[in-house]
Point group: C2
Chain length 193, copies 2
């Protein structure tokens, strides 16, 4: 169950076997079936979830009832509404499993306790935050400057294999495109090949 998590940790910091065993005790294993929710809008994001297996999405619904997908998370990724998770505020996001998924959950207090018990886990968290920030910055730049086709290409680069796992209308929602525009772009790309 901890295979992907330990891989993710060891890519960034060097923990001993003993420290890894300590880490284990702070996580809550959780299975979600497809279409079940980790978080529903209007609640607080109690868990920061590491994805051992499966696929989830977080999305928000605007005043006109349109869904906007903010993030996908596949094996090896973390997902939560970080803002709500850290502050305890109410979330505008919903996090839903798009496949049967296996998660490892931290609460804010178990995360704090783990960082105190295993100081290098705080370094790991800091490095994750750096990467998340960088990815987010790239996404903002992308929404401001990239063409629809460039956005699509970036998505494939960020989440390899996701095109096969996620319905096209969700890909379109993530990119801020209509399904028709996405369909046209995919056609253009395949014609060029």
């Amino acid at each position: 169950m901890f295979k992907q998590l330990f891989k993710s940790i060891q890519e960034k910091v060097q923990l001993t076997e003993e420290e890894l065993e300590v880490c284990k005790t702070f996580f809550i294993p959780k299975k979600l079936r497809k279409k079940q929710f980790l978080l529903q809008e209007g609640n607080s994001s109690v868990y920061n979830a590491f994805v051992e297996k499966g696929l989830l999405r977080s999305y928000t619904i605007d005043d006109k009832g349109n869904e906007h997908i903010v993030q996908f998370a596949i094996e090896g990724w973390w997902i939560s509404d970080l803002s709500s998770f850290l502050s305890g505020s109410i979330s505008n996001y919903t996090i839903e499993a798009l496949e049967n998924s296996e998660l490892l959950l931290l609460t804010t207090s178990s995360r704090e306790a783990l960082m105190n018990a295993v100081p290098l886990f705080e370094r790991y968290q800091r490095m994750l935050l750096q990467n998340a920030y960088i990815a987010m910055q790239a996404r903002i730049a992308s929404t401001l400057t990239e063409t629809a086709e460039e956005k699509y290409t970036s998505l494939i680069h960020t989440y390899p294999g996701i095109i096969q796992r996620v319905p096209q209308h969700m890909i379109a929602s993530y990119l801020g495109l209509t399904p028709e525009t996405l369909s046209r772009i995919r056609k253009q790309i395949s014609l060029r090949k």
Copy 2:
């Protein structure tokens, strides 16, 4: 010179006088006159800068030659192209002083060394990253879901007093609006008051 920085640190972690003195030795003080650059596109973002005094902006220029402002930084804020700063990659961003400014600079290696010398400084950096991430997430949600007027109101909330300090066409650029649209919004708001 370190007044704002120490205030920023002490808001998040409790350092001793001795630790604060150690921190000082890792920073490079730097003054920039208005219109001088901290970073120019095509270079690597060598410094992460804390703003003791003044105002800066980071922006990127798209293929059509249009400027897009990504961030402002006022007293008490950090600014860099974090992605480039952490990875050493070439930056697509330019960081320019909009007022005469006083900065405190860290390089990647002095930042790492400081986190090792003063472990609570790593916690401070982790908390900054959390806040930066949260702010970035709010900004993405804003570009996806907010009306132009809501974006303008959020900006005023994020950077209090900035409306008086920054030319209107830069505010428009930050919000992704034309100067004409921004002007119309400001008129509407003032009529309602």
